[in-house]
């Protein structure tokens, strides 16, 4: 009885709803905003939405692989932040702007 009372009191659906909402907010941020830094923040929000899903399902399926995977997502997020910030710094140094629709050199 004690075991039944402490296991999984939050339904896993709630994690998925929260994760979907946060992911959509991040995707909307990427699509709507012009500022390169806000777009990078939105990508971080989307990665955290994925992490919420992984942790919720890790608890639901009663194993640790999901929580381990969150560590790798954080590694990728750190790498993405480092390279993204380096790119943003290089772009700002050359162009004095951060608005992504002004970077049109690659347009054919």
């Amino acid at each position: 009885m004690h075991a039944a009372s402490t296991t999984m009191t939050i339904p896993v659906d709630w994690y998925v709803y929260l994760s979907a909402t946060l992911f959509i907010i991040g995707a909307a941020g990427v699509l709507i905003r012009r500022n390169l830094f806000i777009i990078l923040f939105s990508v971080e929000l989307m990665m955290n939405a994925v992490n919420i899903n992984l942790v919720g399902f890790s608890r639901f399926h009663e194993n640790m692989i999901g929580q381990n995977f969150v560590v790798f997502t954080m590694v990728v997020a750190a790498a993405e932040a480092a390279v993204g910030l380096a790119l943003a710094t290089a772009l700002y140094r050359n162009r004095r702007t951060l608005m992504v629709d002004l970077f049109t050199e690659m347009k054919g």
Partner: protein, 195 residues
């Protein structure tokens, strides 16, 4: 029951922080909203009994990654960006409608699904019997996930080298910087000159 109330409370704060972050004109405000969101996500990890990840979320994500963003933001002249147009004129309404439609689609699909647990056996009682959450977590990380763990270190090394190379000033690059440096205060004019 108390867990559910707390989950809804922190989930509402996560969503509010995310919405606040993508609607700010000031980049520092947006960054602080993102940090606020991350701290509330750490609270949700605590409610899920993922204690180690909750601490890592605050120390690494809110502490290290976002402060790295903050450092770089401090190098920029933030006031000029606040005065400029913040959204794409053509695609913003389409994107907003699309986001709401996709969210409605998610909720519609998820409402018809019932998830069944795989019953891996690591219940909170079993985890406590095996020596605690962090011990079980690291057992799985360094046994089953050892190869991905080593590959992750290579990913971080590549990212570090790539970041150094990207921001390093080259001789040719600094020449073009000087050519563009003067009279390029307003970004719009830079683009027009260049076109």
């Amino acid at each position: 029951m108390a867990l559910k109330v707390l989950f809804v409370f922190f989930a509402a704060l996560v969503v509010a922080g995310g919405l606040f972050a993508i609607t700010r004109r000031n980049m520092i405000h947006a960054l602080l909203a993102v940090v606020f969101t991350f701290i509330n996500i750490a609270a949700i990890y605590l409610l899920t009994q993922a204690y180690f990840l909750a601490v890592v979320q605050i120390v690494i994500y809110a502490g290290a990654i976002m402060v790295l963003f903050l450092f770089v933001l401090m190098f920029l002249n933030l006031r000029t960006f606040e005065q400029q147009r913040q959204t794409h004129t053509k695609q913003r309404w389409g994107a907003a409608i699309l986001a709401v439609a996709v969210l409605a689609e998610f909720i519609f699909v998820l409402a018809g699904i019932t998830f069944t647990s795989a019953k891996g056996g690591l219940t909170p009682e079993a985890i406590a019997a095996q020596g605690g959450q962090t011990r079980v977590f690291s057992d799985a990380l360094f046994n089953q996930m050892l190869l991905p763990f080593e590959i992750a270190s290579v990913v971080l090394l590549v990212a570090m080298i790539g970041a150094i190379i990207l921001v390093k000033k080259e001789k040719a690059a600094s020449l073009t910087l000087h050519e563009w440096g003067e009279g390029a205060d307003s970004p719009e004019s830079t683009v027009e000159e260049e076109v």
